[in-house]
Symmetry: C2
Subunit: 412 residues, 2 copies
């Protein structure tokens, strides 16, 4: 590890995860190990920093107890934003302001923890830095429950969300089997464009659980008629049917099942339709067609912020990608992101590397067609073998008065 | 403890909880300790038993490992039902069939684990038994996340659901505070007629969490205009507002905010109206009126079957009410239910007693008006002091391959 000369700034951005703060702890620990003078945090990412909102992390992370508590705290400790920096050009007021603040706080190292939109931010800061010939170094640290970042084997945050989804799926399946009556349960799971987390529901299956019966991915067009036929077929031998669906299901042009809900859909920055309620929509339709009880369970934000059953593998890797980003920066690396590289399947081993962040930002990694079964309604063994190591191990919350304790910013 | 002469039959009924199987384990352990010859389980409660569906529990619960795993398994291990026995009268075919099966299996002790509807079942079996002069003894064992049983200080199942609701509420509040933008989060919580579980969301508040801002109980009529005014007031000083609402909110006759959703409400076997979607309904309205982002989170069945963070106090008490019901029956008691009696507040201590089940069945214990704040939108310290002891302690799941393992019935 090199030596850091100057101060460090770290920010978080995008949707919360169970382990984004473990990466923050990692960056902090790595920076301190490299001799960083002071470590500051951006309040609410680059958007808050732009207006001078800075947190003195040294005053908060005083010892190992705080670091460990931070690792066990879900959602963005520093606060996040969903803000896209403007195009890089000399004289841009936005960048001038940001770099003015960098100077004011003596910042020589900037870390940004987030998903693909956040990597766009670190790219642009790096590019602007190049343009004006700065000596400030910029590093990205991956995070997203969606697991849709390119190049990295997987993203920190995904393992814990997958563990939570699989755990809840197991428990809900037991619940739905309690009564000896026909019931269709539709689980709506996050991941608008990539079905990694939806597919993780398949992990519920085992010797003590019959698992989900059908899984529908945003990688493939959804066909309601085909789904109905599959459910009918399954119900010939099984009273309780469980279906996992991605929140981002879509249809071919000649299908119009989602028309009603898509009328109200918002369009996101990339032109994608933001549907909501596909699970309930499918459940209601199936209930009507088949004439049985249905239940739609939307895991909603619970799946990304539930850290009380986080994966230890995930927490540890999240810490490592943060720490190793600091290490790389201390060695003079800039414009890169730490990635995870799986070095062995069984036993699972994984190391970090660094990779040009420009080649990662704004790209999406989807579930390969070969990892979805032929019928398009389940996963293959390869998918399971890929995900299973990522949910292993538990890191227990610090329980205070019967509830998980969290580290939070002092009141402003 | 007396000695049990003859065989034992135990059933489960009503909605699943995280600890209903701990009560089953308790009944089993108590019966065995009292020397019961064989212990059978009703498959799918009295409804399944009526058609001869019986499980040999001795063949499954072979040792302490199985008992401990059973305690950690959510939902009804034996399966449940929602079935109301007909009125008690001599010559009733239903009762004749049931008592014929009792004789066939040499049953001398019947235990039924459930909520108030299930206690109606145990009452009727007892009454029919009296009518025909049986020597079979009948005991009720309380269970319900709703905590709405009379006489008992609280019900097993409530503590774990409360712990789960409070944990998720803490985590969701962190999630909603991540971005520096206005957002209203509405949490819809179970408890159609009693607001115990909804009130438990108040436990989230502490030195590391600002807690929920408003809580609306099914004990009081909901007033949308007043709620809107409260939210506007809170938003003068706080960007993120979190509201906990009971799924069973209702309005005074002259209010019509819920008209649309109540049109579609189903009526269950016991005459209860099954509303759904009040949380989303309120969230949408607030979003439109205030002009900000809203999020509706429905804890759905997750809150009753999530056993991966069960309360140890609850698991232990659930076991105890089961075991002590067996003990009472071994001493010749019949027509009673075990109740929990709090003997001290701090430190919390609690013992079991027995109580005439006829005085408990079909009655509902609601949150006392004095435990809801004057404004009708929060809880008092007394409510918190009542609930807090019930969520203390954790009982860790047996984790296998990264997920909680459960005990399940052998495939039929």
């Amino acid at each position: 590890m090199g030596t850091m000369k100057g101060n460090v700034l770290v920010g978080q951005s995008g949707g919360p995860t169970a382990v984004i703060n473990s990466s923050l702890a990692g960056v902090y620990a790595g920076a301190k190990a490299a001799g960083a003078a002071k470590v500051y945090g951006m309040r609410h990412g680059i958007q808050g920093f732009q207006v001078g909102q800075v947190v003195d992390l040294d005053a908060i992370l005083k010892g190992d107890k705080e670091i460990e508590l931070l690792k066990r705290t879900p959602a963005s400790f520093l606060g996040a934003c969903r803000y896209k920096l403007p195009a890089v050009q000399k004289g841009s007021e936005v960048y001038e302001q940001i770099f003015k603040y960098f100077d004011e706080y003596g910042i020589k190292y900037v870390f940004y923890i987030g998903g693909n939109d956040s990597m766009d931010t670190i790219c642009k800061l790096y590019d602007y830095g190049q343009l004006i010939g700065t000596d400030i170094l910029f590093m990205g640290v991956p995070k997203t429950i969606d697991n849709d970042l390119e190049i990295t084997d997987h993203t920190p945050g995904f393992g814990s969300a997958a563990k939570y989804v699989a755990t809840m799926t197991k428990e809900i399946i037991l619940d739905s089997h309690a009564n000896d009556t026909k019931v269709i349960t539709v689980l709506e799971i996050m991941g608008r464009n990539a079905g990694w987390l939806t597919g993780a529901a398949a992990l519920a299956k085992g010797e003590d659980n019959c698992g989900v019966d059908l899984i529908y991915f945003p990688e493939l067009p959804f066909d309601m008629a085909k789904c109905l036929a599959s459910v009918k077929k399954i119900m010939e031998t099984k009273k309780q049917v469980t279906i996992a669906v991605s929140e981002g299901l879509w249809e071919d042009e000649d299908s119009h099942f989602f028309d009603e809900i898509s009328k109200n859909a918002k369009i996101d920055a990339f032109g994608h339709k933001e549907l909501s309620g596909v699970g309930e929509c499918i459940a209601k339709y199936l209930g009507k067609q088949i004439g049985c009880k249905v239940r739609a369970v939307n895991f909603s934000s619970i799946q990304r912020c539930g850290s009380h059953i986080a994966s230890k593998t995930d927490v540890d890797e999240a810490f490592q990608v943060g720490k190793d980003a600091a290490k790389a920066a201390s060695n003079g690396v800039s414009g890169h992101m730490t990635i995870l590289k799986r070095t062995n399947d069984e036993p699972y081993t994984c190391v970090t590397e660094i990779y040009d962040v420009h080649k990662i930002a704004n790209a999406e990694k989807k579930v390969p067609r070969a990892w979805i079964n032929e019928n398009g309604d389940g996963v293959t063994e390869e998918f399971l073998n890929y995900v299973r190591p990522l949910i292993q191990g538990e890191i227990l919350p610090f329980m205070v008065n019967g509830l998980p304790a969290h580290l939070t910013l002092p009141k402003e």
